[in-house]
Amino acid sequence: MKTLLTLNHHIRNKKKYKSATDLVIGIPKGLFYHEHSRLWEKFFENLGCKVIVSEDTNKEILNYGIKHCSNETCLPVKVFHGHVYSLKDKVDYIFIPRYTSVDKNEYTCPKFCGLPDMSLLNLKGSIRVLEVKLHIDKDINFTFESLKELAKNINVEYNNVVEAFKNAVDLFHKNEEEKLRDGLNQVNKSKKLAVSVLGHPYVIYDNYMSMRLIGKLKNKNIDVYTPMSLDRETKRRNAYPFQGKVFWGVGFENLGSAFTFAEDENINGIIYLSPFACGVDAFIVEFIERRFKTHYKVPFLKLTIDEHTGEAGFDTRIEAFLDMIGCD
């Protein structure tokens, strides 16, 4: 019996007659996209491919995701599946990288490690996937091996792919450095209230999932700070109790930011946005809450969201919190 999967392997291994310049690559706007969009867009542009990014998350995309995922999957992964589904008829390949560890001593949530396979299986093999593997903590060569495979799939010479990748990485780092120079690491001393919004980047920067939380705060004339307003080293240095140890990358980001902002007198409150049943956040928020109780006085609000969250209830809680920290 030939199942969809073997069929799909067959499709994957079939010789491609299109040249790379004709290829259309789809990048789903979820999970990794919010941090590394520039890197991957540039990478495929360097290869001469046309890149299509899926549209912003909306109700339709969420519904596709819910339909194709098991119940236990968390909201961001469901949304990601919706993005993949929305792209499937528009592109030749969908790009889903496999992040296992993005830096030394930093791992990702297991769902990132199985993401390409999970999407393929949940969408019953109706898509073709390109993947790049990142496992920096173990061996950097994994990345190059996966690039070799990618080169074979899109019929481009391996050296060109490596060149394009290196160029994109360089540009990505240059961008990051520029951002640092633009006055990062500082919380403005102004009469305005300042609130820090913490959480996974793919939750807080996704306007549909976060129900425009950052926009709503800004409309109330509040300065908003996120983990991205701090530089990498500061966050790693303050990530109690994991300084110098192994932990999830997103854990370092949020633990470090929470304690850095808590020490800053100009920050009036901290909001943590977490998807329902997030395994990583269960640990991170517990560390933050326990230490805040004993060491700091900053007000802290944890908001949990899933696909059933109503916006009115969500707003009420934010308003109550803002009243408490003295917003008119």
Partner: protein, 372 residues
């Protein structure tokens, strides 16, 4: 100094042997019960997985009975188990207990490292005693696992129902009072003899079911509501793919051996996940489900605690595996709110379905042979 440790299935037997041979004073927390879960849930984060909560409950039980050192394991990677120790010691500190945490790294376990970690325990003890303790403990775990496998074999075949359960209950009681390697070994041998004496129906062909999933949920009988016993008494032969012995073999013994052999389920799992590791037992779960299909098991039961991250990914492969390898798989998710009645209903429905499937296959085979 008094040591305490968490429970995981029948792991307490080899740990008892280890600590008694070395001569360390210890407190064994009571077997996981309602109180343990209650203690754990009170102090744990809401969405943490169940093993975290029950283990924390074990520690609190141990500390209340005078323990001041905790023997535990840690590690690195994606699965939350690696970070249990850090959060648990933080929680214990904040509720006012002062304890020492000894955490053995599981990811790169070597003899030297284990010895170093155990140094606090073994201070002043002769090293020959320590080595003897480790060897005895490893031997014990294999014997205990064999005993439980034998019980699974006799339980579904016994003519007078309940004999196997009685023997195992007796064994569990007696092994707690037994002292040292020799005493425990004698108990195991005694129980084995009693199991072998049970009259069984040798001609019966019970349904064969494999248990896969997260190791704690699959081995801890209070958490999985005694699934092995329940299925056995329904007349089903259970093969638990996640024994502690298995785990020691993969993580400890194979690391020492000069010849590297491949972890079979792990390799098989790569058919659907093109990567080395998705954390925890994720790949093994997929691989074991595939292998059970190939070995003509009647069905697979997948167990995992609510919010377990690697198993959620593994679960997404099952619709493909069921079709490709023609094996029914049921996923049961466990947490502190799991109700026994609903759980048993689902098990019974699954078993009924497997029986019908078997009878259907048999009858369709028969008509085929009749036709020819």
């Amino acid at each position: 100094m008094k040591v305490t440790f968490p429970h995981m299935g029948n792991m307490y037997v080899p740990i008892k042997v280890l600590l008694e041979t070395i001569g360390v004073d210890y407190v064994m927390p009571p077997f996981c019960n309602k109180k343990t879960v209650e203690y754990g849930v009170t102090h744990s984060p809401e969405f943490v997985c169940l093993p975290f909560k029950t283990m924390l409950g074990d520690f609190i039980h141990g500390i209340q009975n005078g323990a001041d050192t905790i023997l535990f394991c840690g590690g690195v990677g994606q699965c939350r188990l690696g970070y249990y120790g850090d959060l648990q010691s933080e929680i214990l500190k904040s509720i006012g207990y002062k304890v020492e945490f000894i955490s053995i790294d599981l990811t790169n376990m070597t003899v030297k490292e284990v010895m170093e970690k155990l140094k606090i325990l073994t201070d002043g003890k002769s090293s020959s005693k320590v080595i003897k303790g480790i060897i005895y403990a490893v031997q014990t775990i294999f014997m205990v696992d064999k005993l439980y496998q034998l019980a699974n074999y006799t339980r579904c075949r016994e003519i007078n129902k309940g004999y196997t359960d009685n023997v195992m209950k007796e064994f569990k009681n007696r092994v707690q009072n037994a002292k040292g390697y020799k005493g425990i070994k004698n108990e195991i041998i005694l129980a084995k003899r009693m199991l072998k004496a049970i009259k069984i129906d040798r001609n019966s062909q019970p349904l064969k079911i494999a248990i896969v999933g997260e190791i704690y949920a699959a081995t801890e009988s209070y958490i999985n509501l005694d699934i092995e016993r329940k299925l056995g008494n329904m007349g089903v032969e259970v093969c638990n793919k996640l024994g502690v012995a298995n785990w020691i073999m993969e993580h400890f013994i194979k690391n020492i051996l000069p010849i590297k052999s491949k972890n079979m389920p792990h390799e098989a799992g790569k058919e659907f996940m093109r990567t080395d590791d998705i954390g925890g037992h994720g790949l093994e779960t997929i691989g074991n489900a595939i292998l059970s299909g190939k070995k003509e098991y009647d069905g697979v039961i997948h167990l995992y605690p609510f919010t377990c991250m690697p198993e959620i990914i593994a679960q997404s492969t099952f619709s493909e595996i069921q079709g490709k390898y023609n094996i029914p798989i049921i996923t049961l998710i466990l947490d502190e709110m799991t109700g026994e009645a609903g759980y048993v209903t689902r098990l019974e429905a699954f078993i009924d379905m497997l029986r019908m499937k078997r009878n259907f296959c048999k009858s369709s085979n028969q008509t085929e042979t009749d036709a020819t």
